[in-house]
Subunit: 298 residues, 2 copies
């Protein structure tokens, strides 16, 4: 990330090292099916922006936790995200060949392996929350609840289903926002909730403010994704540019226009930053992350 976000960079550098180590430690190097563990590692350890884990770490710090207290939920959230990408990329879904500049999991391995690797990343996320690190059982259970609600049939997976059904049809702006809230927003907000839970504090106002922040950046993130799909190249994105047009998807730019989409993203960034305005310098990393999300070029 750019050096115009110094507080974010400081958190991000530490958080990314910790996340990679945690994923490396908790994704099997070997297993009863080595091809399957290889595919899990391929899908989860091949980079990416790591925004969701950053949100876990950022929320945990803001709630007074150490970064170490956030390692397990950060890795769990990233595993759920990685599982969803592997399945969404499959030929029967979005049929994408490239992800993060590399062949997608089913291209690097095969479809059956990719389906199973997504499945085992999914299981592993909940296993981590139930077994790893040092949290009271009640905290673990609340983390599992929040992650399930965000990922399941009224969350991320429902968003993907809505997205698939919308291919080739013009959506209303309200339907588009609702779809993205499910597909992306809920897991982003859950990341903040899990970071908050890792700190084991009782600050309901902070939790509420984190959710307000999360809902705003979740939508801003998607608007920026839609903008980049038009304005950026494939090499820059690490995935095929212009894929929204190829899939005849409604996007914020197609419904609103490019400049109004940028304005909407900018307003959402401001809403997010305002939600954390009362927390002083501790909130700087998350506030800068909101800015980064709408100014990123990949």
């Amino acid at each position: 990330m750019s050096s115009s976000f110094p507080a974010l960079d400081r958190l991000g550098d530490d958080a990314r090292v910790r996340l990679e180590q945690t994923l490396d430690q908790h994704l099997p190097l070997d297993s009863a099916a080595p091809r399957l563990s290889d595919a899990m590692r391929y899908a989860a350890l091949s980079g990416g922006k790591r925004i969701r884990p950053l949100l876990v770490y950022g929320a945990a710090r803001l709630a007074g936790a150490t970064l170490g207290q956030a390692d397990i939920p950060a890795a769990a959230v990233e595993m759920v995200h990685a599982y969803s990408l592997v399945h969404d990329d499959l030929p029967a879904m979005d049929d994408d060949d490239l992800r993060r500049g590399q062949p997608t999991c089913h291209r690097a391995f095969d479809e059956a392996t990719a389906i199973l690797a997504g499945d085992t990343l999914h299981t592993r996320a909940f296993e981590l929350l139930a077994s790893a690190g040092d949290y009271p059982p009640a905290t673990r259970i609340t983390m599992v609840q929040r992650l399930c609600e965000a990922a399941g049939v009224n969350g991320m997976a429902a968003g993907q289903m809505q997205d698939m059904l919308a291919h080739g049809r013009v959506q209303t702006l309200a339907a588009l926002e609702a779809m993205h809230y499910l597909k992306t927003g809920r897991l982003i907000t859950a990341s903040l909730q899990l970071g908050y839970l890792a700190a084991q504090v009782d600050q309901p106002t902070l939790l509420q403010d984190l959710c307000t922040y999360g809902d705003a950046i979740g939508l801003a993130f998607q608007i920026q994704d839609d903008i980049l799909d038009i304005t950026a190249g494939t090499e820059q994105l690490g995935k095929p540019a212009g894929s929204d047009e190829k899939h005849q998807k409604s996007t914020f730019p197609s419904l609103l226009g490019l400049e109004p989409s940028r304005q909407r993203a900018s307003q959402l960034c401001e809403t997010a930053q305002q939600a954390l305005a009362g927390y002083g310098d501790s909130a700087l990393p998350l506030q800068q992350l909101a800015q980064y999300i709408i100014s990123r070029n990949h």
Copy 2:
């Protein structure tokens, strides 16, 4: 099931009604993506032998619980089983068109919907263990742990991966047993563990005996499956008979011969029944279930 198993029938009749009600209650009638919730219900509510839930109920009763205490883990285990069937049936995996006498989920809906319905059944199982019913957080967490270990990269999914890789190759008997232990045995034993946990007792010997019983019937179940694939018809099975030969799979009959396979299943049934011999009449349903497993004709 046949009336030659009266104790099993008494448990089974009650358990099946409770299971259907619990699944019906906890699988969404509507959701943010109605097609997805329809597919979840289609996959989980279209019958089946319900052996895993029966094991949950049977173990819970043996440990002194009411059937009601076992409803949630019984439904969770069945959801994980249903998710695995939906994904295993996909064209990229076993490519099966028929399941329980009905079109498989991807045939009744489409591949994308089936992938997502498997995913959301998977998530929903953990959500149930984390949220539904009335259990202390530590019990919920242990249930999640056991179910994750049984389903994940060193359990059911690894078994499916091994199975896929073995198509067209002759396996050793040891490799075949190891594969089935992962693919089927671990979830069967986990079902008994979850039933035991639902009772919230501290009887480590009982838990150990249930695991011995589970490991034996898990293997016996698979041997009987292999035998039926040769000796039964498609109509009787509700899925294509002869599919092992079609996929060039090693099976117990192909490695051992038909009659020695029957003998091995019979020995395993006896091992299972012996493991519970010290528990008197309370163990009768599970002992009869072992007998049913090797004498069933579908």
